[in-house]
């Protein structure tokens, strides 16, 4: 039993480390890419942003106002019911994208 516990603990630790490594390696990038319903609709080079500005993306499902600032991007306003995208705050790396499920909006940071 002890050996089995150790086996699983070691296996999961390895998997978690591998996952974290891939996450860390993919962290870079300066381009904020906005995807609406699977199609890229906007791409902003965050390294070139000197003063933060906002843009609103609309579709028949609703709208999201996105703030692009030097090195980061965040959803600051939206008419979706959950506001998960706003609660996430600003993302500054490619680790986890902002996803607004009801509006099918995805914001990622890429190379």
């Amino acid at each position: 039993m002890k050996r089995k516990t150790l086996f699983w603990a070691a296996l999961f630790a390895l998997l978690a480390l591998a996952g974290a490594a891939v996450y860390a390696l993919r962290g870079g990038g300066t381009a904020a890419v906005v995807t609406l319903d699977g199609k890229e609709v906007d791409r902003v080079n965050l390294a070139a942003v000197a003063v933060a500005f906002e843009r609103t993306y609309r579709s028949e499902r609703g709208w999201n106002t996105v703030r692009f600032s030097p090195g980061g991007v965040a959803v600051v306003d939206a008419d979706c019911p959950g506001h998960d995208c706003m609660e996430q705050g600003e993302i500054t790396d490619g680790a986890i994208p902002i996803v607004c499920l009801p509006h099918r909006l995805v914001i990622e940071i890429k190379e």
Binding site: M1, K4, T5, W8, F12, A13, L15, A16, L17, A18, G19, A20, A21, V22, Y23, R26, T35, D37, G38, C80, P81, G82, D84, E87, Q88, G89, A95, I96, P97, I98, V99, L101, P102, R104, L105, V106, E108
Partner: protein, 169 residues
């Protein structure tokens, strides 16, 4: 366990799971990454699966998701929750019999991984952005940590509930 008692226990566990879920949603997450949540409510699902059975645990989980969305007031989250919950439940149901109870936390880890896989699949299907799969590894790492934590929590809860039941006779 009589039918009535089982029903009462299931209702109680649903209320407990719902309460934990609502409260956890109000606490700022330890890591500010969406989709990375401790998922404390799954302690109850896993406990119900061991003490009552797979179907009963599925009922409790489904009720918690539906009632939870009512409390949280957003329908899009239901889809996410259902996708995660369904895969997680299926994985844990399949694996529960294959592992001894001392390794219940392993079942919990696989359940947590299943939960995140389900949510990722739902996100990709809804947004039509296959690039989201790149976030799988990060979610995998998170699921292992949170799954182990909730699994150990469930093991303690099961032990405590059994001891209580024995004392009462």
């Amino acid at each position: 366990m009589s039918k009535t008692k089982k029903l009462v226990v299931m209702a109680l566990l649903t209320a407990v799971e719902l309460t934990i879920w609502v409260i956890e949603g109000q606490i700022p997450p330890p890591i500010p990454v969406p989709g990375v949540k401790l998922g404390l409510a799954s302690v109850v699902t896993l406990t119900a699966m061991v003490l009552l059975g797979r179907r009963e645990a599925g009922c409790i989980l489904l009720m918690r998701i539906l009632l939870g969305s009512l409390f949280a007031g957003s329908f899009s989250a239901v889809l996410f929750s259902l996708a995660g919950g369904a895969v997680s439940w299926a994985v844990m149901s399949a694996l529960k019999g294959l592992f001894p109870e001392k390794l219940l936390w392993v079942v919990s880890v696989f359940g947590a991984i299943g939960h995140n896989v389900g949510q990722l699949l739902a996100a990709v299907a809804v947004t039509g952005t296959p690039g989201l799969f790149w976030y799988g590894p990060a979610l995998l790492a998170a699921a292992i940590v949170t799954g182990a934590f909730t699994g150990v929590g469930a093991m303690y809860l099961i032990r405590a509930l059994r001891a209580y039941e024995e004392k009462r006779g």
